[in-house]
């Protein structure tokens, strides 16, 4: 398991439990997010609080999960990015694909409104 989950208001928070989010855990991420969507979760916050580095395989899995979410009328948003990773998201325009929040709480609150 690469994700641990908890609920916060109407959101499901999925915490990435790896310091280095890379190729070795990318497949797990996709599988676990797909399973969460299949269970009927409609608003998933992927929380990067514990992550210091992501590689392109992991980002690929994340984006491909987003496509799966959209096809199933669900949404995946992002929270807790460190400075480097946030810059990377902006650099390759992933900030256009994902809503990005500073913290998981903030992301959950956005859905509660």
């Amino acid at each position: 398991m690469i994700l641990t989950t908890n609920t916060n208001k109407n959101a499901l928070i999925a915490n990435v439990e790896a310091k280095e989010a890379n190729l070795t855990v990318a497949d797990n991420l996709k599988e676990e997010l797909v399973a969460l969507i299949d269970k009927g979760n409609k608003f998933i916050v992927v929380n990067f609080e514990n992550v210091v580095y992501v590689d392109s395989s992991f980002l690929g899995a994340l984006v491909s999960s987003l496509k799966y979410a959209i096809a199933n009328q669900a949404d995946i948003v992002i929270a807790g990015l460190n400075k480097d990773i946030f810059a990377l998201f902006q650099l390759i325009r992933l900030d256009k694909a994902f809503k990005i929040f500073t913290t998981a709480d903030e992301a959950a609150a956005s859905k509660a409104l």
Partner: protein, 377 residues
């Protein structure tokens, strides 16, 4: 530089974990330490070591049960496994070795001997691996499957060159292509399929085929817009079940030799670097487009740049902006820009020979590619 090897040490004795951990750290290994078999199972979910070194006598789950569990799990059964235990009973030793363990080492064995045993084993694995890799690469070459060009294109009034370094010598997700339409137009393609090694490499051919087709179709229809070429590629990729689960960045440039200009559109790619020779300034040009296949409308745009003699363009993929820092890996575009700036303006052949790329080759953690264009007299 060899990548540091990860060892998962499993022992219920904290002292042994610390002592062995320290000895192995000193030898350049990276140690993951687990105080029980179940703690080790948790660690395996997050990271894959090159080898597991486990005790036999442990409460709850002993070393044999641990090994048996791993054998039953396809994700972990291939990780080489050694026992490191004080249990010297001949029957048990035999039982341990028979559990597909590569070695059974007694704890009294001097640490340097243990280290040598691990080193020798990993060395053999590496050699076999490299041999297999060579065979596969040979097969790919004989099938004419190249995602990187064999030579630079000849473009009148321009110097076009590239540098590419695969990750740990695997073919990877980066792809480069030069499509010469006629004396006036040449397309430059740089993409990065998100993923590593063989999986990404395989898909790079899929993307390259679409890109080549889209370029040719647009040109034959008299459409010379890089933006509309990207829109066409994106629409196909978005709907095609073979590649729509895989995403790729793309930088597409069309060189116009008559007009001495370039047209540029990008999809989730890193900003292009434009060096103005007369002003000796560098500008980053960021395209608006999203990764290929991500959204039905990729939001693409198009830049036209008139180039004067000496002006340079750099295109890059993200592997080149990753760093292995003191606190682990990180991605930092600005550090890269600061590092490369002093070299802008000099000739690419000198740049290729210089220290900048040599250091990159040592430190890189993913495929790295760089395409270079310069307007010459």
């Amino acid at each position: 530089m060899p990548v540091s090897k990860k060892i998962l040490l499993v022992d219920d004795n904290q002292l042994v974990l610390e002592m062995m951990g320290r000895a192995l750290d000193k030898e350049g290994f990276y140690c993951m330490k687990a105080i029980s078999a179940s703690a080790a199972m948790d660690m395996l979910k997050l990271d894959t070591p090159d080898i597991i070194l486990s005790d036999y006598h442990m409460p709850d789950m002993n070393g044999f049960q641990f090994r048996q569990n791993l054998i039953g799990m396809p994700d972990y059964s291939d990780i080489p496994f050694m026992f490191l235990t004080s249990e010297g009973d001949n029957n048990l030793m035999l039982e341990g070795i028979n559990l597909e363990a590569v070695d059974y080492i007694l704890k009294g064995t001097p640490v340097p001997v243990i280290v040598s045993k691990i080193n020798n084993f990993l060395h053999t694995v590496r050699e076999q691996h490299e041999r297999a890799l060579k065979e596969l690469s040979k097969a790919a070459v004989s099938l004419n499957l190249n995602s990187i060009p064999q030579k630079n294109p000849i473009v009148k009034g321009f110097d076009v060159d590239f540098w590419h370094k695969p990750f740990q010598n695997y073919p990877g997700g980066d792809f480069i292509d030069f499509i010469t339409i006629n004396e006036q137009y040449t397309f430059v393609v740089l993409g990065d399929v998100m993923g590593k090694k063989w999986g990404a490499w395989y898909f790079s051919f899929g993307f390259l085929s679409y890109i080549r087709a889209a370029v040719r179709i647009c040109i034959s229809e008299g459409n010379f817009s890089t933006k509309s070429i990207l829109q066409k590629i994106n629409a196909v990729v978005y709907h095609d079940p073979v590649v729509n689960d895989v995403l790729s960045s793309l930088s597409l440039i069309m060189i116009d030799t008559v007009d001495a200009s370039i047209k540029y559109s990008g999809a989730g790619d890193l900003p292009l670097l434009y060096y103005n020779s007369a002003e000796k300034t560098t500008v980053q040009i960021t395209s608006a487009g999203m990764l290929l296949g991500l959204m039905p409308d990729g939001d693409f745009d198009e830049f036209i740049l008139k180039l004067n003699t000496g002006d340079q363009i750099f295109l890059l993929t993200d592997g080149i902006i990753d760093f292995e820092g003191v606190e682990g890996k990180r991605t930092d575009y600005n550090t890269f820009i600061t590092a490369i700036t002093p070299y802008l303006g000099e000739s690419f052949s000198e740049f290729k020979k210089g220290n900048f790329l040599k250091e990159k080759t040592i430190a890189h953690v993913d495929d790295c590619s760089l395409i270079f264009l310069q307007k010459i007299a």
